[in-house]
Each structure stands twice: as C-alpha cells, then as structure tokens.
C-alpha cells in the first residue's frame, strides 16, 4: 500500500474532458461510494475518508459525526469507523491519496480504481466546500455517481 506522494502525481495528471451538454440536474448527483471488503460493505456518503493518527480518536469522532468515515492506518489494514462501527479494510487493496479540494477527489476516483481519497483532521472544516466542488466536477463530466465518474472521459497530461 502507498500513501500520498506517488499517487498524488497521478491524480494531478488527470484533466477532465468538459461535457457541455450534461444530461442531468445537479440534484441527480449521488456522492455515495461503497467499499466492499470480504463479504462486507462500507458506504461513504462523503466519498473521502478522514485519516487520523489515533485509532481511539477515530472511533470517537465517528460517533459524533455520522456523515463521515474516520480511519486509522495500521500495519496492513485501514481501520475505518462509521458511526462508531469498525470496518477493517485490507490496506493492500487501497491507495490512499490526500486531496485538497473536490476536483481532486473526482480526479482520484478517475485516476485509479484503487485510489481512496483522504483528508486529514485540519481539513475537516472544508468538507462542505469539497462536497460542492465535487458535485460541480461530476456535473461537468455528466457523472451521476462515482461509478460514472470513474468512466468519465479524461485526458492524462
């Protein structure tokens, strides 16, 4: 599993192909993203996780903020908490990519199937902002959901 640096380059090489005639309304856009592991599923309603250094804190914060998924990275797994519930994802299946705005979340999903965008604690106040940006990026690529976004026409610079 890799964190940030190498995959960040990858997302910056993505330039979406603008769609001048999206056949959708902004209200049609669904940001949900489900991560399947083993026979279980973890649904992200905001499609980036919050990565924290401290596992206990991740669990506590997930109880308070039920919209977000808080994670802690251990040796070979990503321990994720959604509304206090623990999900242990195999770290090898995911490429954690730090994102700095909503367009980068979109790029992360478009760049690679294994990319999992994350923000850190200091970016928590930006979730609303990132959500709005991501919705616009999806609108302008005619993507109704993350699945369509992964297939949206894009250039690689």
């Amino acid at each position: 599993m890799q964190v940030a640096a190498s995959s960040a380059n990858d997302i910056h090489s993505i330039m979406f192909v603008h769609n001048a005639l999206p056949d959708l309304s902004m209200d049609d856009i669904n940001l949900e993203c489900s991560l399947n592991y083993g026979k279980s599923e973890l649904v992200l309603s905001f499609p980036a996780v919050v990565l924290l250094d401290d596992e206990k804190k991740a669990q506590e914060m997930s109880k308070k903020d039920k919209e977000l998924v808080f994670c802690h990275l251990s040796k070979d797994s990503i321990v994720a908490f959604s509304a206090g519930k623990e999900h242990v994802l195999p770290a090898a299946s995911y490429n954690l990519v730090q994102v700095n705005n909503g367009i980068e979340i979109a790029k992360a999903y478009r760049a690679s199937r294994s990319n999992l965008p994350f923000i850190n604690e200091s970016q928590l106040s930006k979730v609303k902002e990132f959500t709005k940006q991501l919705r616009i990026a999806m609108f302008l690529t005619n993507s109704r959901n993350i699945g369509e976004l992964r297939e949206a026409p894009a250039y690689r610079l």
């Binding site: 192909v17 001048a20 005639l21 056949d23 209200d27 367009i103 709005k132 250039y155 610079l157």
Partner: protein, 359 residues
C-alpha cells in the same frame, strides 16, 4: 427587483467585469501554440490573398465573426449597434448576447435589433440551452424573426451556470430540445459554449442535427472566472481553468461532427486565426477584444480593430504563401506538445495532412 431587472443588472455587471478585470484563463492556453503550419513555397502579396467565403448563401469578406455578447439594456444597445455597424462594414457576421431578456420583455427588442442600422449584416441570434426548455418553438422563431437573424446560436454553459450564484443547474433534456428546435426553426442552428469547449462525445450527439458547432474553448475569457468575481463563495476558484483548450476542442469536434466547425475562445491574433483555419475550422470568432475596442472608440474603434485583423490575416497568409482560405485548409500542419499527446490519447480522427509529432 423583478426577474427581468435582475437579468439586466447581471448583464451590466458581466460587461463591467469583462472590461475591468483580468478574466483570462490563468494556467491554460488555447493550445494554438502547438500548431505549426508548413508554409507553401513561393511568395504572395497580401493584397492578393482572397479571404472571401459564402455562409448559407451570404457573402462574407473573411472567415471571422464577432461572438455573441450582449443585449437587454440601453448600454448593450449602444454596444450592439456599434459592433453591428463595424461588422457590416468589415463584411463579417456578429452575434448578439442571450435574447432571453427580450423574450421576457418585448420592449427590449430594440437593444438586439441592429439590422436597422446595418441592414446587410449577417446577424446571429442567441439563447441558452436550458432556456429552450421553457420556450416553445414558435416563441424562439418569433425571437429570431424579431431581429431578422440569419442564424441562431444556442449557448450551452454548464460551467458558468455552476459557478453563477443564480445559476441554472438542470440540464436534463437540453440536447434533445436543441435537436428538436433545430429541425423546426426556419434558420440554421449553431451550438456554442462560452469558453469551456466542446468534446467529441457532445459533438457526436449533434452530428447531422445542427448546422454547426462553435467550440468556444478554453484559453481566452473564462466565464467561470467572470462569475467567480460575482460569487461570494470563493472556494470555487479551483474551477477557474476548467475546460478544453480551443485548438484541442476544434480537433475533438472535427473528429465526430461533419457540419460547420467554428473556432473561438481566446482567439487574439491573426496567427491564432490562421492556425485555427489550418486545423480545419470554417470560421474564427472573437468576443472580448471586440468589446474592448468598441468601448474605447465606438463603431470606429471596433471597425479599425476588425479590419486591421483581417489585413493581418492576409499578411500572415501571404508570408506563408497561401493565396486563399481553401489553400490554407489544405496545408500540411504539424501538431506538437500537449496538443499532440492529448489528441492521440483520445484517438481523434484527423485529416491526413495533420501530422502528430509527439516527443
């Protein structure tokens, strides 16, 4: 304030922002810098260069047009009238801005109705793609007739709408509505962006359904940028440079659309125009530089700018040994750099005369 006055205010705000602020793309260019034309041997004098062409039965002096900008209030009327007089004198088409204001309020027709002052002008009407959902065909036909337009441009601007505080974020069925209207209207329809460009996927949906596509690609005025000056939410700044560069958009559209293809968005110099024509564009358009010239020196200012540009196109072509636009459009062209890379990636279908040089 009622909706009509709000629209009027917004239009005035747009003009002021365009005139006073830096509304250019910051990091993105038109990619025309990656287009190299292989000159013809032999020299020609610039006054021997023939730029004339025919557009749906009307003669034009050159393949240049003024992109649609304004209408709906008294200042806009002055701008449209002056540009109309200049464009008629220069022998080229001009577009008006969105006619929505006059559809809502008939008293505003005068601000678009410039053929009164320039009867031989080739005039292009304008309406937004999402507005077509609320206006039926006969209302649009009447709007076109009211100003005796020769053609209708339908602008589709989801980028601008996304950032505009009062933007329209429902584009469902706009493509179908454009196609339906184009088959009923008694004038040809051209679909235009406002600076974010048009892709081959979108162009394919319009192939054989509309007369033409005016790419209005990235690299010139960014309408996302213009709206960002009006929007209190500064977090959308990351969209400033969104869009398909103009040269790439011309290749995208030509790859899947067999109708007329117009190059625009960031066209600033005669060299830009000559390159866009060599890529296969039928006409080239400019917006911001024309309104700047008009605001400085009225109709005369706009005319001096446009006729000067036409002369420079002739000089540029003469220097390269091309005597006509037809010759230029058969020229050997080399595309390089990022343009070559992205055009290959997208497997864009190009004329054999366009060579792709990747490093």
């Amino acid at each position: 304030m009622d909706e009509a006055s709000l629209t009027e205010n917004r239009k005035m705000e747009h003009i002021n922002i365009v005139l006073e602020k830096d509304t250019q793309y910051k990091e993105k260019t038109t990619f025309l810098e990656y287009v190299k034309i292989l000159p013809n041997s032999g020299s020609i004098k610039s006054d021997e260069v023939e730029l004339g062409m025919n557009l749906i039965g009307k003669e034009l002096s050159s393949p240049l047009f003024v992109s649609g900008m304004t209408g709906g209030h008294s200042v806009a009327f002055g701008i449209n009238k002056n540009i109309a007089i200049a464009a008629e004198k220069a022998g080229i088409p001009m577009g008006v801005g969105s006619q929505r204001a006059m559809v809502e309020n008939k008293q505003l027709v005068y601000s678009y109705d410039v053929k009164k002052y320039a009867p031989n002008l080739f005039l292009i009407g304008n309406i937004g793609s999402t507005k077509l959902l609320s206006y039926n065909d006969s209302r649009i036909q009447e709007m076109v007739n009211d100003i005796s337009a020769d053609m209708l441009a339908i602008h589709t601007n989801p980028g601008q709408e996304s950032v505009q505080p009062e933007g329209d974020l429902d584009f469902r069925n706009t493509k179908d509505r454009i196609v339906e209207l184009a088959s009923h209207l008694d004038k040809p329809v051209i679909v235009k962006e406002v600076g974010n460009g048009i892709s081959k996927e979108v162009a394919a949906q319009l192939d054989e359904k509309v007369f033409g596509i005016d790419v209005q690609g990235a690299g010139g005025t960014t309408w996302i940028g213009v709206e960002l000056f009006r929007n209190k939410d500064k977090s959308l700044g990351s969209f400033w440079d969104w869009g398909i560069p103009t040269a790439l958009s011309v290749l995208e559209v030509k790859s899947s659309f067999s109708g007329s293809v117009w190059a625009s968005g960031g066209i600033r110099t005669a060299s830009d125009i000559v390159k866009a024509l060599a890529l296969g564009a039928d006409l080239c358009g400019m917006a911001k530089p024309v309104i700047m010239a008009e605001r400085k020196n009225g109709a005369e200012g706009a005319y001096v700018f446009l006729s000067g540009m036409i002369n420079k196109i002739k000089e540029e072509m003469a220097d390269m040994g091309f005597g006509s636009v037809a010759e230029l459009r058969n020229a050997k062209v080399e595309i390089t750099g990022t343009l070559a890379k992205l055009a290959s990636q997208r497997k864009l279908k190009m004329d054999k005369r366009i060579g792709v040089k990747q490093v």
